[in-house]
């Protein structure tokens, strides 16, 4: 394809990417460097059904004038990134200067909101991504050996977790693991521990979140692997059979190498997706036990006083973390594509 044609060909998608990805990202970067103007506070007489009193209020007129002048707010540089709600540089230094041993220092570090969220997000990603990949692969293998007539129905049922909105799935699970829900009550019965509560135990709450993550991810992995399985070269498989390769050997030596690039691709997608874990924490009302970088962003933007700078800084840190996490996979993808070429 001539250079000019190629340029014209990809121009629309480049424009769209610039408009819908690059520019918003840039605005988030800019936003993360700014904070609100210093509030102008005034004492005013306020009367309500409970009587009159003098109260502190924000001078809305003065703030309006300030915001009209400089709508972006005050420049804060990296201040938001470094404050105690994010990287907490000062706090970290104090913790590690005064910590008597590694364990204390670590537990105090994980008490800081950003690092607590980062820990859960990382553990979630590291646990859920490979498990989803494995489970999806197993389902794909199982469905692939089913007789053609039953496949359609089985595929449909298997895809249900993907069809059901994530929040609905989480809410369903939320009621099931209630002490009086079907799973909660069953666990109490089987362990004989009347006080057992999945929602009250941090470890069980994490396990539930992981389970929900695997449950909702597996169908996507399954359908991609299932499609890829149809492209495994028949003659190679048959040749392997003639050579006396067992079922497991055929899987290990023919099918799996064939699917490796797909697996790398799926792993990339899963890591990106799982690092943004959000709906399950909200849906399962598990904010008492787990926070992720995405829930930090959500809560920064919620309520009467949205903290845009804070949300923007956490977003940028999330982007950086995802990039770091993806490095090994990206490198592998590059190697495997190069080997192919």
């Amino acid at each position: 394809m001539p250079h000019r044609t190629f340029t014209l060909f990809i121009l629309p998608s480049m424009l769209a990417m610039l408009l819908f990805i690059a520019l918003p990202l840039l605005s988030v970067v800019v936003q993360s460097f700014f904070v609100e103007h210093a509030q102008v506070l005034v004492q005013v007489e306020t009367c309500d059904p409970f009587g009159c009193k003098t109260e502190i209020r924000v001078d809305a007129g003065a703030m309006q004038a300030l915001n009209d002048q400089e709508p972006q707010g005050r420049f804060n540089g990296l201040g938001t990134y470094l404050d105690s709600a994010h990287l907490a540089v000062t706090e970290l230094r104090a913790i590690w200067a005064g910590a008597p041993d590694m364990a204390t220092g670590l537990s105090q570090t994980l008490n800081l909101p950003f690092y607590r969220a980062l820990l859960f997000t990382l553990v979630y990603t590291v646990v859920v991504s490979p498990l989803s990949l494995g489970l999806g692969f197993l389902i794909a293998l199982s469905v692939n050996v089913l007789p053609r007539a039953t496949r359609g129905g089985v595929v449909y049922v298997t895809l249900l977790p993907m069809i059901v909105p994530s929040v609905i799935g989480a809410l369903t699970l939320f009621w099931m693991i209630d002490q009086n829900g079907i799973i909660g009550a069953f666990l109490r019965w089987i362990t004989g521990d009347e006080t057992l509560s999945i929602k009250a135990s941090g470890a069980l709450a994490w396990a539930t979140l992981f389970a929900h993550g695997v449950w909702s991810n597996a169908p996507f992995v399954f359908i991609v692997f299932f499609a890829a399985l149809q492209t495994v070269p028949r003659d190679t498989l048959e040749a392997a059979m003639v050579d006396g390769a067992s079922r497991f050997e055929r899987l290990r030596l023919v099918t799996m190498p064939h699917l490796a690039p797909i697996a790398t691709f799926l792993m990339l997608i899963l890591i990106m997706d799982n690092f943004r874990v959000f709906e399950s924490i909200i849906g399962l009302t598990a904010t008492a036990h787990a926070s992720s970088l995405s829930t930090l962003i959500f809560f920064a933007l919620r309520g009467d006083t949205p903290l845009f700078g804070s949300a923007a800084a956490t977003s940028m840190l999330t982007v950086i973390c995802i990039f770091v996490l993806l490095l090994p996979s990206l490198r592998r993808a590059r190697t495997s594509f190069r080997t192919k070429a």
């Binding site: 509030q39 059904p49 502190i56 924000v58 209630d178 002490q179 009347e194 904010t287």
Partner: protein, 412 residues
């Protein structure tokens, strides 16, 4: 002092003149768009507002518990997405801070003949909102269960804990207490109640700097943990609307939640039909050593958006005057503690009125209170779960608040 004013208002109103029959404004034209919280009293008001729609007047209402997330962006737009915003003393602050409400003095003079003076929320001499109901979190208990165990109605939180212990010891109920302690807002509100119940100060005098890491803060947290000891293990996922089913299931016999939801556990409710005949309402329990209920009192009202045409503002105000007309208070007296003329308190109002009479403080209105509330809510969970000390939790909350208040421009 202030609470007596409300009580005087609530009772004096009964002697008031016969309510004028506020009709829908038949000649009003334009668009009325309401944004409100979602509970039964507000739903009744919205229904009345919606009934005013004509060929020339459209009336819409968005009832959502997420209203505080929407209000500032929605009313900042010009023209604003909504013309009427329902709010409470806690949530209207953000709109005033952003200067998004219009003064209502001229509209009150023209169309406000049915309003009583204590309904006018005046800030710096200007009417910025119209209140229509009072609210508070207060105590609810099963009279039959307590009486059978020989327990007198508790007055303080220590009494409540003692009562819970008796019920547990007698094998009546293992965890007889239920409180809405789901993190998100309500857990923080639990702390606010118990902290203000000891006359605690959230901020260093004259500044926006936090001041909750003190003996009163620790005591409030210790009380919350003691309460948790008599609650089901899932309590950190309980919100207000979990209380009626818990009462109905005979799981709990005592709770402390919103007066505006009392109709849901009183006779006539579908949510707790067997528990309802035995439910009694009382003031929120006090903290030991303090003589007022450990709760905050609230008013709910509405304001009119600034960024809308004057004609829509006028139509909105007139529709709202019909929606909160005194006849609502006489027709549906059980739904809320109404502030309108002609309201006669019913048993459903007993808890709120007793809390107000008992001297419970109003929820703080300083513009940085919501940041403090959020910071407390998000950082005391660790203590509740036994992962950190009360002092550490309060220090975390102060740190989170300081970072947020600095970013929002309240602390330099």
């Amino acid at each position: 002092m202030t609470h007596r004013l409300l009580f005087a208002a609530v009772t004096a109103i009964q002697l008031g003149t016969g309510a004028a029959w506020a009709e829908c404004p038949a000649d009003a034209t334009g668009s009325v768009r309401i944004l409100s919280n979602d509970f039964s009293a507000l739903n009744a008001i919205n229904e009345r507002a919606l009934s005013c729609a004509t060929a020339n007047l459209t009336v819409t209402a968005n009832q959502t518990t997420q209203h505080t997330d929407l209000q500032v962006p929605a009313l900042t737009a010009n023209p604003a997405e909504y013309t009427v915003k329902f709010g409470a003393n806690g949530s209207i602050t953000a709109l005033l801070t952003a200067g998004l409400l219009r003064p209502l003095d001229d509209l009150v003079a023209k169309y406000g003949q049915d309003l009583s003076p204590n309904q006018l929320i005046k800030i710096d001499g200007k009417v910025m909102a119209i209140a229509f109901m009072a609210n508070a979190e207060h105590f609810f208990y099963r009279e039959d269960v307590l009486a059978a165990a020989g327990i007198a109605p508790p007055q303080t939180w220590d009494d409540v804990l003692a009562a819970a212990e008796v019920l547990r010891a007698k094998g009546v109920m293992q965890n007889p207490l239920g409180l809405p302690y789901a993190p998100g807002w309500e857990l923080g509100q639990g702390f606010v109640n118990l902290y203000l119940g000891q006359d605690g100060e959230f901020f260093q005098p004259g500044t926006a700097l936090p001041a909750i890491n003190n003996a009163k803060g620790v005591k409030a947290l210790e009380m919350m943990k003691a309460q948790a000891g008599y609650m089901g293990a899932d309590y950190l996922s309980w919100s207000s609307n979990a209380m009626p089913p818990l009462l109905e299931a005979n799981t709990i016999a005592m709770t402390n939640f919103w007066g505006s939801e009392s109709a849901e556990v009183l006779p006539g409710t579908e949510k707790a039909p067997t528990a309802a005949p035995f439910m009694r309402l009382a003031a929120a329990p006090a903290m030991a050593g303090y003589d007022h209920p450990a709760t905050t009192i609230w008013w709910d009202g509405f304001g009119i958006a600034k960024n809308i045409p004057d004609a829509d503002a006028e139509a909105s105000f007139r529709v709202m005057m019909h929606a909160i007309a005194p006849e609502l208070a006489t027709e549906k007296p059980d739904l809320a503690v109404w502030l309108m003329k002609g309201y006669a308190p019913t048993p459903a109002a007993a808890g709120v009125i007793a809390s107000v009479q008992g001297g419970a403080p109003a929820y703080p209105t300083v513009p940085y209170m919501n940041l403090m509330h959020t910071a407390i809510d998000g950082n005391i969970v660790g203590y509740m779960k036994g992962e950190e000390t009360a002092e550490q939790a309060l220090a975390d909350a102060e740190a989170a608040y300081t970072a947020a208040a600095r970013e929002a421009g309240f602390i330099q």
